[in-house]
Symmetry: C2
Subunit: 297 residues, 2 copies
Amino acid sequence: MKVGFIGLGIMGKPMAGHLIKNGYETYLFDLNTKAVQELAELGGNACESNKEIAEICDVIFTMLPAGKHVKQVLFSDDGVAKNGKPNTIIIDMSSVSPEESKSFANDLYEYNMAFIDAPVSGGEPMAIEGKLSIMAGGAEDDFNRVLPLLKTMGSNVVHVGEVGTGSAAKLANQIIVSIHLAALSEAAVFASKSGIDLNKLYQAISGGLAGSAVMEAKMPKIIDRDFEPGGRIEINFKDLGNVQSSANAIGVPLPITNLVKEVFGSEVANGNATKDHSYIINFFERMANHQIPKGGK
Amino acid sequence: MKVGFIGLGIMGKPMAGHLIKNGYETYLFDLNTKAVQELAELGGNACESNKEIAEICDVIFTMLPAGKHVKQVLFSDDGVAKNGKPNTIIIDMSSVSPEESKSFANDLYEYNMAFIDAPVSGGEPMAIEGKLSIMAGGAEDDFNRVLPLLKTMGSNVVHVGEVGTGSAAKLANQIIVSIHLAALSEAAVFASKSGIDLNKLYQAISGGLAGSAVMEAKMPKIIDRDFEPGGRIEINFKDLGNVQSSANAIGVPLPITNLVKEVFGSEVANGNATKDHSYIINFFERMANHQIPKGGK
């Protein structure tokens, strides 16, 4: 089995690395030739175009910034669909909307190719460790064929349901993560302006019903005023845009999510797109005219 | 040391029980004489009024539904302030606003009495087990004097800061819990109407950055359609009212919290005040015209 990987960014590069390290014959393409070269040194095969990957490979992974890039890679004249072999399985691990995933699957069906949407959560650290959560949508047979490959990258690989459900599960994940970031921000600004040392607040509430992975990961960053990403504000903003369009398409009003999306949008507008997503606390600090002191008190 | 306990409801009764079981000479009053009698059988001393408690005790706990009840117990003519001994310490474990706590402390100071606001989280199960989280505001000396008593009821007792900070920390806790309930609801309705089995969603995302104590506690209730309380919708609604008035007082806009408060308010208006607080999912289900099937799929 020849495995292709297109999109070797912060996430894709370590993910492709796990395929190589696990002995899969892996073919690589990215516009960033440096990333391709580094993985070639691990034992991967450098390719010079999507077309070359398509002509060679039986399974092709894509890990790209947004749906429009996936569409381009799959369906342009020198893309995967028009140049690939029948029965190729495409596994898109990008975060796109379920409607985009279904449309890719339908269009690939015309080329006799199978499609799985398999977005991830866990970010760069888990990508490097091969411990991502992977939520996959697609036919069960196709999923079972590629499961060993997914397991090189993820410690929690779940077949959620048919095509599109992987993307929908990822969006549900992003709804929760984004709202939790806003909840932590409102609580932290309220507590700090009430005169509370945030270290004490953390000690008092993190073990109870208010506890969360977001609090564990981000309260220390808020206390230290360390907003190096991690997950970037622009990524949450993009994902919540996908949530909004998908929710509109299926008829699910999401008033809290959409309000939180505007918060992320405001931080993008204020030049903070590439800061850690916990930096939406800046929005609430500005509103309250109160910046949490470094150190938390 | 003679210890009084006023307010023996779902929370107060087991909390007072821990004082008795730990050998403290405990004096009890509640309008519900049955609760008083049950605790007297454990070794407590039944009293017939707040006045009697005030005349006897050196330390007095209050655990009451809202600030207006605390005010009544403390400051009415037959209340604690006018009938108690100088140097009495009052520990209010009710959930009230920080402004109410500060006002109680100021007024008790006129009577030469000390005040600690020490609200709790963890609900009835943790109250019964003596494993509450207790967040206390007050002078350090006063806190240290009553810490052994608090430790009979709580496994995580934190001195947050001066008077009012205990109540503010509890409200920060409620901000997070309430918003997390809304986040879980929006994600669950979105995922379910997208065709996802919620058991699969839970499996895919609960171990990652979306994970939370609310998801662990409430996703099974949502899947089972089990909305027996637990925490009641009316309690969150009351607490978010306190959040709103306190945040207005100190100048902290809380757009997400206040929107979520309206969700709880809608469920109160629709006759669901005493259902488990996870039942706010009903609000989002009605909006989406989609009820999550029992069993999750």
